[in-house]
Amino acid sequence: MAIRVQREDFDVGRELDALSVGNRRVGGLCSFVGLVRDMNEVAGAKSGVEAMTLEHYPGMTEKQLEEIEAEAHRRWPLEASLIIHRYGRMEPGERIVLVATASPHREAAFEACHFLIDWLKTKAPFWKVEETDDGAARWVEARDSDDAAAARWAEKAGGSL
């Protein structure tokens, strides 16, 4: 189990390798990388995204990510997991977040990885402000679809957070 909140980019291959190296019980390794798109997330906006800046709540962020990760380990048989989330200014194409899970079982690795990113999206205290090519800066609004995705996992198991 590990979480990292950092300004700098990360090396996906090296991070994933570290999750299973030396552990012969790992049969499946699932990962998700979130990247900055150039499409606008602000409702109705037609402009392209030049960059975005991620602000977060130091202290609470780490606490929330650790709780989310611990919850995943309570629900699924995981051998290892990792959450890395960046903050600061990023341009389209840059990596924002990595979540990864290693398990003896494929299904557990997939579900736990999906759970991690869904819960992170609605619980980790990060906020995005987009700079668009019309010169504006706008706070991205939370999406109902993210709430719905997170709620799925609340229904499936008795775990609490």
Partner: protein, 83 residues
């Protein structure tokens, strides 16, 4: 008591962090918010629609009825948009 504001709340209020000493009769977050709204236009604007605001007491999510006391860290922010 330490107060933190994030994203557009920080922009409306004009500071990201401040130390305050609310009057002793203020016992929960709801009372704290009402008291803050009296401190200026920025606060009044930031706290106009409480349904659009999330908050945390000592870095855990909480509701408006959550009790507060001296030494607490209370944070206000919009729904999160990370990931």
């Amino acid at each position: 008591m330490k107060l933190l504001y994030f994203a557009w709340l920080r922009q409306k209020i004009g500071v990201g962090e401040e130390a305050v000493e609310p009057p002793p009769e203020i016992a929960d977050v709801r009372g704290l918010v009402e008291w803050l709204k009296g401190r200026g236009d920025g606060y009044a604007q930031a706290f106009r629609d409480l349904d659009s605001i999330k908050l945390a007491v000592n870095q855990e999510y909480a509701g408006l009825d959550h009790p507060i006391k001296a030494g607490d860290e209370v944070a206000f922010f919009p729904p999160v948009t990370g990931g």
